[in-house]
Symmetry: C2
């Protein structure tokens, strides 16, 4: 034994890991029992409750070669809490499960905690509990509770005549992945977007209050995710390619990788933008109208671009079928 | 392509996996939006909300050689929901995250679903959502929401003079593990207890209503878990070895493995019995009084047996420190 602080989770031990993560957490007055007991206890108030869970697996969703602990923590919270926004709710409280190998550096854990708390602060949520265990690969599970002060905005309410609007980034994370996959680390804005998204926090409740008829968060790519809205609502959607902003960083990446910047925008996932449908007069400021909900010909509930089918809509199937 | 139904998750695909698990779920009137959208939406009512998460990793918490999908699903739900009981609450709604290799048999998944739903029914909870992704090892994360109609029973309220009482099994799961570890599959009652515990559902709320001053679920072993109560409450506990029931199955396993049946009772985890402290007159029927809360000498908040320290209290450290 030396006086050195432990360098890995094995040295820290299970209670040390929990202690490092939970020490000094900022907790609201609505948390009756915080971390450290068998479970957390919250005062829910009068709002409805939104519940969603999301899991990130090392080697599937992130690589420790690419992502720091901070980015991993930020991305895990962002991906889960964005689903609360997509129902029109506000992220409120979350529990985190961390499975990790015993040789994981304590430094990684410290940065992971920092990333979780940073994204919690951005999202307006608080960490109230969790669980930690050993595993071969790092697996991060985040369950988020949200508050919802009105009817949920599901995927099923889009009506022909509504417009389709988006808020947040599209294609940035996919551009970052294209860059990283070729062994580069720039443009840094694209790489940063892949490692931890910039979610338009607050936009989900804003859309609900404005009267959004359907909403989804863009995790698999705009075309794929709007496809879910079409299927749930029994409608079709036609997007206007000229309505999209294609930022310089996507032009740069597309030029460098031989890709199409519009393809990044339409099919790139992991940015957790929000896409919603509104009556035309209801679109809030800051949302970009990019298409229109139409009556599908013969129940063919699909998404078109400029009236034509887009090749290779994609969407990611984790089991590879 | 053939007309054969897919044999593995790869053939089923991500949406097929989600569809198989979520199709036809029984949902209460308090579920406003069930599985299939970005998140579930629940009407919380007037109760306080209990939140807890628990993760089981293949090769760490279970082996697919030993546990069927049904047992894995049952155990994952039981281990998580027992923490709601331990606060004095009632399990209400849960989300499940399943990470699994693409070659996992669909049959395993069907049994897993059945196990999750069986244990949900026993616990009085409903499955409202989840997430699935690919991974090398099967990792099951369960987050449970509970309802709590009164002050939470934490670990911190035990008072000198209280009695310590337990409800549920002690040592059965550890006995099963000892058997399985030697390559045997009997006594079957012990093996079954290791593969999926029999949680005393409803006993947590019963203890709270009766005035329990502190409570914990026995996941790491009675001595280790009562140690947490002692530390949180600033007390010591002395157990009476003669007060424990040592069932025949533990005698059998101890005789066959050269172990001590009382050691199984005092240090065996994973049965998710409840241990609580009460004023002596408040102990509900069905609870067994096994010890007493005492004032610790010199802040030495530890658990003794018949007035003496028990060697090797144990408790399981997942990171092996």
């Amino acid at each position: 034994m030396t006086d050195q602080p432990p360098a890995t989770l094995a040295g820290l031990g299970e209670f040390g890991v929990v202690g490092l993560i939970t020490r000094g957490l900022p907790l609201g007055a609505d948390v009756r029992v915080g971390p450290g007991d068998d479970a957390a206890v919250l005062a829910p108030g009068a709002s409805d409750l939104v519940v969603t869970t999301d899991t990130m697996v090392e080697g599937v969703h992130f690589k420790r070669d690419w992502s720091s602990g901070l980015e991993t923590g930020r991305k895990a919270v962002a991906a889960a809490a964005a689903d609360v926004e997509a129902m029109g709710g506000r992220p409120w409280a979350l529990v985190v499960s961390l499975s990790a190998p015993a040789d994981l550096p304590v430094t990684w854990l410290r940065f992971f905690r920092q990333g979780v708390l940073q994204e919690c602060e951005l999202a307006g949520a608080q960490l109230v509990g969790g669980d930690t265990t050993r595993s071969r690969d790092v697996v991060v599970g985040v369950t988020v509770l949200g508050r919802l002060d009105g009817p949920a905005v599901t995927r099923a309410g889009a009506r022909p005549g509504d417009v389709v609007a988006v808020r947040g980034r599209l294609g940035w994370a996919a551009a970052g992945l294209a860059v990283l996959g070729r062994g580069f680390r720039s443009p840094r804005a694209a790489v940063a977007a892949q490692l931890a998204p910039e979610v338009p926090w607050g936009a989900g409740e804003e859309a609900r209050a404005a009267g959004a008829t359907a909403m989804i968060d863009v995790s698999d790519g705009l075309l794929a995710d709007l496809g879910h809205v079409c299927a749930a609502s029994g409608v079709a959607i036609d997007l206007d390619s000229a309505a999209f902003e294609v930022p310089d960083v996507l032009q740069t990446v597309a030029a460098a990788t031989g890709g199409d910047p519009l393809r990044l925008v339409l099919t790139g996932g992991e940015d957790h933008a929000l896409a919603a449908t509104f009556a035309e007069a209801d679109v809030p400021a800051g949302w970009r109208v990019v298409g229109r909900v139409v009556t599908p010909p013969e129940a063919d509930t699909r998404v078109t671009v400029d009236g034509r089918e887009w090749e290779g809509v994609g969407g990611h199937d984790h089991f590879g079928a």
